[in-house]
Symmetry: C2
Subunit: 334 residues, 2 copies
DNA sequence: CTGTTAGCGCATTCAT
DNA sequence: ATGAATGCGCTAACAG
């Protein structure tokens, strides 16, 4: 039924070792026999069995990717960066959504390891002790992608969310705003939640602006929760003259809510956020935001992983990618 | 170094066959010995090697997914549907972006087959003779997902793009519009391009509206090309009173362009399209569109594939999922 | 219910 | 430059 390396060997009149050599581009084969083998391969329609090869060589040229949710455009963009580089180095990726759920994350880490992936890219929520324990059972390298771990005991690549938020809030402050509301993510989320909130706080503190509890609402990153938070802000007195949103999607919700109240962005209320999703330039006014290099985060993570898998020495395995504020039209002087 | 089934057998004082049985949940094991084995597994930190299992059993519990571009929200949504169902049936997915490029598609199909996936989900551009040839070398089932093939010789799941477009244009016509422009995709693309254009044409024909060449512009599905096409339409005399866009993203470009010209949507120009991406309800006015059940297309494809892999008999392997027009605020009576 | 024995398809020594 | 032999870790008869 299925044609194996033995069949090719017989057809070509050589040993299976020789076939293996030509298939693996081993130079120690006479051009003539190489040709014979290729012809036999062609004739028989031979297709190497990567599973058998994986068992024999202990390499699968496959890496596992744990991602929160591929249907979220942020992660999808990261995933594309990962896959492009993986492809470039002849790896394939097994993709697993884990929704930032600890149990699910640990479960897929284990099945990925069972599948003998050559490396693991982890993009998740909090990295708990249980995660670390799971990571430590791995004999293959792991890199955290858009995620950090307290002890920095694993290679990682991400932006500095605290500074990104700090920078965002500062463009507001530099425009004279002092009543600045924040739509935060959940504070349990270390990157998009907690760190961005810390950046907000620090910016205000350094500017000598007192922090008011009712100027901070926590949302769930989605459009709808941006709407909800903004409605609340607009009911306040004094209402914020500017809103810093932890994510673009909530910021867009904010913009629309402000407009629905008959106010103007940015004339009446300025809005800024962090992410720079495609949609950010597809709203009116176009959203000013600090860009997070999603694709690069994925690409650089994967590149780092290839080095690790290759046992190359790494100079810096805690890479922080630069962010950049993108000035568009949603921020104005107060 | 790595602990195998033999180590567990020795540790538990049983044969490796018995260990294999408990690992595979074979009922023919005395509860007592089962317990002993589990303890040994625990003690040794044994992790089954799925590659070895795959070689021995000729099943990898892995399916290959060929997708155009995971960073495109439409496909990402489909992918999520695929992965959820795959997960449910204990499959993992190897994800490959192929950008609708024939060479790339055929290349990844082959590497996926080499990796001994148990099935293949193909989401691509045109299905050429070369594709069919590649498919035919496969000993595992293949289902086309959001893609059709002329001869219907492969299982597939999709919506009926022609009728979806037809329905969209008809809501325009039912509102009294007769000057209807279309922003099309490339006509080489059978689904999103050609079929949707055919639906547009048929709707006009059935309504006795002549088709004018300058009322049709072909774009590339992106926001920017929606803008470009719309600028052109607005320069016409008479200009269209309604625009049908092949995709939501181009439709959003249309809306903004109309607004930037000081006109109102839908009062001055109506806009409708096909897709229903998240963004559609995040524009003002919210976009009226005919929804394509992305997640379901993925989920149903994967479910069909599981049946095929399971050698179940299929009643209908050419499934057409329903679409639905979502009335929002971008269409008005002329 | 449990153990023995063969492969699965290939990479990889080690000879020659 | 090529071939023979071994084993990767496991499943799946088969026997008992």
């Amino acid at each position: 039924m299925t044609v194996t390396i033995y069949d090719v060997a017989r057809e070509a009149g050589v040993s299976m070792a020789t076939v293996s050599r030509v298939v693996n581009n081993n130079p120690n084969v006479k051009p003539q026999t190489r040709k014979k083998v290729f012809e036999a391969i062609e004739r028989l329609g031979y297709r190497p069995n990567a599973v058998a090869r994986g068992l024999a060589s202990k390499k699968t040229t496959t890496v596992g990717v744990v991602i929160p949710d591929i249907s979220n455009s942020i992660f999808a963009e990261v995933a594309r960066g990962i896959e492009d580089i993986a492809n470039m180095y002849h790896y394939n990726i097994i993709l697993c959504n884990a929704d930032k759920k600890k149990e699910k994350e640990i479960r897929v880490i284990n099945t990925l390891l069972e599948k003998q992936v050559d490396g693991l890219l982890f993009m998740g929520g909090v990295v708990t002790q249980d995660h670390i324990q799971a990571f430590n059972t791995s004999s293959v390298p792991i890199v955290l992608c858009g995620t950090k771990e307290e002890g920095n005991s694993f290679p990682s690549v991400d932006i500095d969310h605290e500074i990104a938020a700090f920078d965002a809030v500062n463009v507001l402050i530099s425009q004279g705003h002092r009543n600045i509301g924040m739509i935060s993510g959940t504070l349990e989320d270390p990157a998009n939640g907690y760190s961005r909130y810390q950046g907000y706080k620090r910016a205000l503190e350094e500017a000598g602006i007192p922090i008011r509890d009712n100027y901070v609402r926590v949302g769930n990153y989605r459009y709808e929760s941006g709407i909800e938070a903004t409605k609340y802000f607009l009911s306040l007195d004094p209402k914020p003259t500017a809103i810093f949103s932890a994510t673009d999607e909530m910021a867009i919700g904010a913009i629309h809510t402000i407009q629905d109240h008959g106010l103007k962005v940015p004339d009446d209320v300025s809005v800024i956020s962090v992410d720079n999703i495609r949609m950010a330039s597809m709203v009116r006014p176009m959203l000013t935001t600090v860009a997070q290099p999603m694709y690069d985060i994925g690409a650089v993570s994967m590149r780092l992983l290839t080095k690790l898998m290759n046992k190359e020495t790494i100079d810096n395995n805690q890479v922080i990618l630069p962010h950049e504020v993108i000035n568009r039209n949603s921020v104005a002087h107060v």
